[in-house]
Every structure is written in C-alpha cells, then in structure tokens.
C-alpha cells in the first residue's frame, strides 16, 4: 500500500537521523552533521510524485534526500562513519552524499550552490529534449545568496524545467527569518523574475504531495520554473554543535507535539483505516531492525584503503 510506504519512508529517515545523532555523540561520526528530523514530509512527499528520469539535488542537509531517493541506508550510514563502503567511499561525509543510479546529485556544502547546479541539470534536460524536471532544494538561508537570483533569472528566461524548493525551517543556522529576510513570505521571492510561487505546509505530507504534484506537472508541461516554499521545522540544531539559544524550548516542543509530520500522517492513516495500531507497531519494529543492521554494517566496514587518498581526483 502506497500510504504505508510513505509512512515507512518518513519513519526510516526519523530513526536514521536519531541514530546518527547518537553515533555522533559517541564519536563515530565527525565533522558537520545536519539532521533532517522534523522535515521528513518534504522529501518523502516530493520524491513520491517524481518520474524515474527526474533529477534532484540539495544542500548539506542531505541524509533524508538520499534515503528517499532509494539508497540503501547502510551505505549512507557507512558514509557518515567515513567507511570504504559508503556511498561516496568515505570521501564525502555527511554533506556530500550522491546516488547517481537514483539520479540524486548531492550533497553540496556551499549555501546557494544547489540552486545554480540544479538549474543546470534542468538546462541539460531541456537540451536533451527529455521530459525530466530537476527538483532543486535549498534552505531559507540560501535565499539571501546572489546566485539563487542569477539562477532564477536564467531559468525563467529560458523556461527551464526546474522546481525550486526552499525548505523554510525558520532559521538560517541561528538567525530567524525575521532577522535575515526582508519579507516574510519567501515564496514571493521569485515573483520579480516571473516565477510563480506557492506556499505548502511542509509538515503535512498530503498537502506536499497534492500541491507538489501540481507544481511538478506545471513545470513538466514546459511552463518554466516554479518556486515552492515548504514551511517546515527542524527539531535539532543547525548542525551538531548548536546549543539552540536562538529559540525557546516551548517553540520546539509545540512543533513536535502539534505539527509533527509523522504523527500527523499516522493519525490520518488510522482515522481512514489504512492500517491498525498493530500494523504500525510492526512497521516500527521493521524500521528498528533496519537501523540496527545499518549500524552494524557501517561499524563493521573498513576505513578506506590509504591508496584511495589519491584516486578520483582526475578521471
């Protein structure tokens, strides 16, 4: 059943990220590690309305994106731990995940970069005259980068099949929207380029899928780009070392309690009798098992061979 598949995908991301947070605390994952907890409905919703030949690309908060693209959680966790079996052979880390077989193009660490790169992927789709669209994700902080607007201009000018998705989680690192953005309604930021903008409740999977589908169809029909503001929320810090002093505990608790995308969808499934409490418990167990196997695989994987240091600099 599709409905349960979506639920599983969101839950997998949630549990995967919780485990990544723990492993970070244990010193098994290092560097920067940006967790996706709270934002799961965005990628699960958008991915499930795509065609096989569509592209996607995002920023450094990319674990959810690669998992939903179809990567084995084992290779994603192995990458986080810097192991040879990781999706990028341990050379990329948390911020540089790629899965070309599933048309996921990363994993880019510079704020705003994915906007221009994704526009280029859309350019290529149009050049090759296939009907692919490029889902191009970035965060609200990226909306103050000049290159985003340079990309907007060319995408609109050349009618490129790109769906821009700003995952507005309210904060660019520790700076709230009110403190970093001249307007509150981010979806309007494409208007002066002639790019229509829509606002979606990114905590509501059904709304993401329904309105997201309309947006993707609009782009696929050759109308040029569209800009989606996904209103979402991250429960954890920007990265792992974030004390979170810029927002209240009550604010976070309120989001978890009343707007959690997984809980909301769970209620929907039960209310509409897509499944029973028992079914959901079985799924919980299933996911728990996957996570355990994932960690075991990653921990038992070797570090990259020293010879790997010099490979893949050039083709």
């Amino acid at each position: 059943m599709q409905e349960l598949k979506y639920y599983k995908e969101m839950l997998l991301i949630r549990r995967f990220e919780e485990k990544a947070g723990q492993l970070y605390g244990m010193g098994l994952i290092a560097g920067f590690c940006h967790l996706y907890i709270g934002q799961e409905a965005v990628v699960v919703g958008m991915h499930n309305i795509l065609q096989k030949n569509d592209y996607s690309i995002t920023t450094y908060r990319d674990h959810g994106h690669i998992l939903v693209a179809g990567s084995d959680p084992k290779v994603v966790m192995a990458e986080l731990m810097g192991r040879a079996t990781g999706c990028s052979k341990g050379k990329g880390g948390s911020m540089h995940m790629f899965d070309l077989k599933n048309r996921f193009y990363g994993g880019h660490g510079i704020v705003g970069a994915s906007a221009a790169l994704g526009t280029g992927m859309a350019f290529a789709a149009k050049y090759k005259e296939d009907d692919a669209v490029a889902l191009t994700y970035f965060g609200d902080g990226a909306l103050n980068q000049g290159q985003v607007y340079e990309a907007f201009n060319m995408a609109a000018l050349w009618k490129l099949p790109v769906v821009y998705i700003v995952e507005n989680n309210g904060y660019s690192m520790g700076t709230s929207i009110a403190r970093h953005c001249s307007i509150k309604d981010l979806y309007k930021r494409g208007e002066s380029f002639g790019i229509p903008g829509i606002q979606i409740d990114g905590m509501n999977l059904l709304e993401v899928m329904q309105k997201g589908k309309e947006a993707v169809d609009y782009v696929r029909q050759g109308n040029g780009p569209i800009f989606i503001e996904m209103q979402t929320y991250r429960y954890r810090g920007h990265s792992m070392s974030d004390p979170g002093n810029y927002r209240s505990k009550e604010e976070v608790a309120n989001m978890r309690e009343h707007h959690d995308p997984i809980n909301l969808y769970r209620e929907y499934l039960l209310k509409n009798k897509f499944c029973t409490e028992e079914d959901l418990k079985t799924i919980d167990k299933e996911i728990k098992q996957i996570i355990e196997e994932t960690v075991e695989f990653a921990q038992n994987s070797p570090e990259p061979d020293p010879d790997e240091l010099y490979t893949e600099v050039y083709i």
């Binding site: 050379k91 990329g92 790169l117 526009t119 350019f123 340079e150 990309a151 060319m154 893949e312 600099v313």
Partner: protein, 327 residues
C-alpha cells in the same frame, strides 16, 4: 604560405568538436549574436544555432554553476568568460563544484567542462581588468590548467580540453588573439595535455614561460644569442599537470633556470617550478633560480608604469645574464 590567427584557431577547435559531439555547447556573455567580445566565437551561432551557442546575461556565478550542473548530467559545456577577471565571481563553482565533486562523490559525478577566455594583462585597461590567474587555478587538485602560446597549440589543446572528462581551465591572452602563425603540414596533429615543448634549444640557461610571455622569452633568447648565451626556451603549455620532466631534463643540460610569468611572483607559477627544481634537481643547479614576474602591485594604467610593472624582454635577458654570471 597559409597563416592563421590564434582567434581563428580557437574558433576552429570549438567548431570541430561541436560537429563531432552534439552534447558540446558554448555559453557566455556575447558569444552568440555579438560573436564574442573578442570575436573568438565568430560564425558559431550561424553554424550551430541558438540552442548550442548561448548568450547569457552578465551573471558569471550563475552561469558557471548552471554549466557545471549541466556537465554533471552529461553535457559538455564550454564556458567563455569575457575575461578571467570576471571569473572571480564564479570561483566558488569552479573550485567547489567543478573541481571537487568527482572526488567527494567517490567517483560518481563527472564534470567535463571547459572554462575559457582571455587571462592576464591586456593593454592599458587598469588593475581590475589585468590579472593573471594561472597560479590561482593551478593550485587546485581536480582542475587541469592550460595556457598555450601558438595557434597550433591553442587549437590542439582546446580540442583536447573539450574531449577531456575533467574540468579544464583554458587561459588565453587578449594580445595573442590577432597574432598570426604559419599553418604547416603538422598543424592539425594532436597535442597531449600535460606536455611542455622546447621552442628554442640552448645549452646555457633554461627559460620557462607560458602564453603571451613565451613571445618575450623567444625574443630574449635571440638577444642572448647575439651576446653569446645559448638559451633554451620551454613553452609550458599546460600548468597543471606540470611537465616537470621536460624542465628538469633541460636543467640537467643548462644547469640554470629563469622562470617567466605574466602574474605576480609571490606564490606564483615560477615559485612552484623553483621549488620542484630544488626538490628534484638541486645538484644540477649551478646558480640561483631567478623568477621574472609582474611587479608586486595592482597593474597601473599609465603607459610607462604599466610597462615597468610587466615582464619585458630586457628583464628576461638580464635575469639570464645574471644566472650565467655575465652581469
């Protein structure tokens, strides 16, 4: 005798590769309808159409990133920067996106792309439009950097750059575009990226140079010859990967080295060559290495000051005489 300009050679290289592969396209400011700010893309729009010869807005950061993204998914972009001075705006995508993604994706994402355009000082255009970026790009693993001199090498190496699966920086020189070179029987033979060429054989001192400064080095060799000094001039052609073997073999013969570049000396191309030579051929050196480079100032506008700031033939002659103990 048939002659060809560097400008035509570069255009022919692009046209030939565009004929060979429909995924090759060229984009940049004024490349299509205007035929290029320096007329390097003359005729391409007429032959290949607006789909493959694309005028961009003035938006270097944006179109560099767009082209890299197109490269990720299988196209082969040629990005013309009106000059490399403006590519500073695009530096993030050249380095962080084009050069590093193959490595950090564990070999999954390739980026076959050429960034080309005039580099270095032109003539009387002031500090912001006159800078050599050879050392900047050569610093970056993941990039190849080519900066040829002759029309033949410009054509052959630009073709090689377009065919190369890696990101390539192709540094041209405005003052070379109109320079004519003879088309000989070997004009269309292939040239490998990463190979220097000895343009003038000699036994007393080795001079390395690239791009426009090769002309000055060759002129200096003639002056030196008249004074009884035999200089060997090496056209580096590629800066990364650097053909250090050819340089070292030459030094084994001459035991002396003068490096020449249009850019600044500090942390420059000559500095790196000097370090490599000291590391790998120290025992062959009979004198200090001298680097000839742009003076350590932003390039001035006034004619006399501009001339003072840039390497001249006399500077190279003097450096060679010094390492030959003839001053």
């Amino acid at each position: 005798m048939k002659m060809i300009t560097v400008r035509e050679a570069l255009r022919d290289a692009m046209a030939e590769e565009m004929r060979n592969d429909p995924n090759v396209f060229v984009m940049g400011e004024e490349v299509a309808e205007y035929h290029g700010a320096y007329k390097v893309t003359q005729g391409l729009l007429e032959e290949f159409g607006a789909k493959r010869v694309i005028d961009t807005p003035i938006t270097e950061h944006g179109f560099a990133g767009l082209a890299v993204g197109a490269g990720f998914v299988g196209l082969k972009p040629i990005v013309e920067f009106m000059t490399f001075n403006f590519a500073l705006q695009a530096m993030d995508h050249i380095i962080n996106s084009a050069a590093k993604t193959y490595y950090m994706s564990g070999g999954q994402v390739q980026c076959p792309i050429v960034f080309r355009g005039p580099n270095g000082s032109a003539s009387r255009v002031g500090a912001q439009h006159s800078q050599c970026f050879a050392a900047w790009y050569s610093h970056i693993p993941g990039l190849k950097v080519i900066s040829p001199y002759s029309a033949k090498d410009c054509k052959a190496l630009l073709k090689a750059a377009i065919l190369d699966p890696n990101p390539v920086i192709f540094l041209e020189h405005e003052l070379m575009y109109g320079r004519q070179f003879e088309v000989d029987d070997n004009f269309d033979e292939e040239v490998e990226i990463g190979k220097a060429k000895i343009l003038h054989e000699g036994s007393d001192v080795t001079i390395t140079a690239f791009s426009f400064q090769v002309g000055n080095a060759l002129a200096a060799a003639e002056v030196l010859k008249s004074q009884g000094i035999s200089a060997e001039v090496i056209d580096l052609r590629t800066l990364r990967p650097l053909d250090s073997d050819t340089i070292i073999e030459s030094i084994k013969k001459t035991n002396r080295l003068v490096t020449v570049e249009g850019g600044w000396g500090f942390a420059g191309v000559g500095a790196t060559i000097a370090a490599i030579v000291v590391e790998q051929a120290f025992d062959y050196l009979d004198a200090e290495i001298i680097r000839v480079y742009q003076k350590d100032v932003p390039l001035p506008y006034a004619a006399n000051l501009e001339k003072l700031a840039l390497p001249q033939i006399d500077d190279i002659v003097e450096a060679c005489k010094k390492v030959c103990f003839r001053l």
